[in-house]
Symmetry: C2
Subunit: 112 residues, 2 copies
């Protein structure tokens, strides 16, 4: 429903068109292990997750920064559901722009 | 022939077992565009290449550093052929350790 997925009055900036994102920016986002963990979690669950529900070994403000970098790199889409800031992996778009990359990176989740 | 592929009296340090290399180290090596260019070149030609034959937008000493990082990350194997330091992509080993990663990264060569 449109009412449960909204931008909460502009609190979240526009998301970039993934076709304008280069591999360099995507790799710079994914080279960070915390950010890769966020992406892996979204990939593994196959669901949108609120920021607070992903267990990360960093402070809340640092986590917010990491989510920001992922959003700017076109990897996640953020929206509000009530007061929760939700995160959705832009999986189909990423797979189309960078075939195989996501799977190659998250396949190694257990070894990290 | 063994005589054309040698370590030139220990001038090249031992290469790491790729099974001891984590995805983090591999990504830190490949996030650099110059290093990705080296790997893409080796991947595309399918041949071992001397350092000097790969066109790079950096000084010789910087290039040497990049080759060093790639060797330490288990991505290339270096050896001497006469006085030329040669570079071989450890493609089969990488593909086994990190399925799909190499192809996902070099497939975007033309877009860089």
């Amino acid at each position: 429903m449109a009412t449960t997925r909204h931008n909460a009055g502009g609190r979240i900036p526009p998301h970039p068109d993934i076709r304008t994102i280069g591999l360099q920016q995507v790799l710079e986002a994914l080279v960070d292990p915390v950010r890769r963990r966020i992406v892996s979690e979204l990939y593994a669950t196959g669901q949108d997750l609120a920021c607070g529900t992903i267990d990360l070994p960093v402070s809340k403000s640092t986590a917010t920064h990491h989510f920001h970098v992922l959003r700017e790199a076109g990897l996640i889409r953020q929206y509000y559901a009530g007061t929760s800031r939700m995160n959705a992996l832009r999986r189909d778009e990423i797979d189309e722009a960078f075939p195989g990359l996501l799977r190659a990176l998250v396949a190694h989740r257990d070894r990290e």
